[in-house]
Symmetry: C2
Subunit: 258 residues, 2 copies
Amino acid sequence: MTTPVSMLYRSTIITPDDVREVDEQVAIETPFTVMLNEEEIGSSMVLPVDLEEFGAGFLFGRGYLSSPEELVEVWVCDDGRISVFADVAEIKARDVIITSGCGGTGAIPRDMLEGTLTPPLDYSISFAEIKPFIRQALHASPLGHRTHCVHGCGLWADGELQVFFEDVGRHNAVDKMLGAILLGRAPARAAVFTTGRLTSDMVLKCARMRIPILISRTAPSSLGIAIAARAGLTLVAYAKPERLNVFCGAERIVRDSK
Amino acid sequence: MTTPVSMLYRSTIITPDDVREVDEQVAIETPFTVMLNEEEIGSSMVLPVDLEEFGAGFLFGRGYLSSPEELVEVWVCDDGRISVFADVAEIKARDVIITSGCGGTGAIPRDMLEGTLTPPLDYSISFAEIKPFIRQALHASPLGHRTHCVHGCGLWADGELQVFFEDVGRHNAVDKMLGAILLGRAPARAAVFTTGRLTSDMVLKCARMRIPILISRTAPSSLGIAIAARAGLTLVAYAKPERLNVFCGAERIVRDSK
């Protein structure tokens, strides 16, 4: 049980009156590929502990395994593979419905995780805008307050909240925002606020859209930070109207009123 | 904008001293299939609003679209399809990594969403056990408190917390618990606690394992409740050590000390 599951990241706390550096503990995301009887079934980002359990449970959840009796052995390999051996008659591809908790694109095309990214669009934001943005985004979701089961995603540009979307999945809410940009209903030269965590896929798809500033009410993961750093994107976590915790790209946060 | 996105469900508040009925607002999950140039790309559970944006953003996130210029038109059809038309040269299947926010099995094999389910195993739990179970599960995750980026899943049986798992994804944490059952390291005749929301896939995979009682710190979705009701599973939301909000199967919650 000595696998590290979190690491320290240096981040910058910015308020209207102060800037200081802090160290934050960040959870580690690592990709693992699950094999069944030497056939590759799928890959997933995982907190790298309890991987035997993860490999078996992953296959059960997707319907490849149905009972403990079928399971023969699980090997966790150093190369990022979890090899499950089981007494199952045949391995057939399943027609799956991606679920709401996870959302439309809780998945990263593998080639995009390592490809080069075009730098973000030119944009910066001051507290004169950050304060109303975060306040409006947090209050834009009556459904969230009623059901406790939806995430929100808002986009701010030209001094106002341009669009706001909700979904049962945090990925879906971000997808709706990206769709609005694709449909010409919102600009990409903007700051985006999400109520969800900043994991790898959330950051990557915003980086691919060249969105310069991504702000979350809550935490980032290790890989989310790594992708933001690679893309040159401003990544803000634990955001409050008067307090930002900036993990990358602090230069786009302007303390003086513009 | 008259599509319903939430509905009222009758649930039962159970405390050590009282039982009463309440109505709760629950967010609606609906499956939609996204098509690109008449080819089926994937299906997702969605909060049924802003579906044009969702269809376009879903395809962008998975790498099928890369810019607004490619997008021609989006139609939302009554039959649960979102048809996107775009100027893209070829549509090729992508090798995807399922991401941590979403987890190993944030996906439901389509045939399982409607198949019959074996009834849950015989089990009930009293507040004498519920109180230590929820308290221990909430305190079992130092990583969660340090990083704010992980979900936990614990399993209680025979008067104690048998296993507890953490992951960046709520689905992954549940998969690890299911894997422990498959590996013979925990019994299925048990109560399970998750810090994550009770959406369709979370409930379905526990129902398939015949787990009788599923408890969450937070909210259920409409489809999560529907699957629990179909499976005969006890579904508890917004759980606190001395207050449960039971959406299905209240008979397995015993008020008297056993």
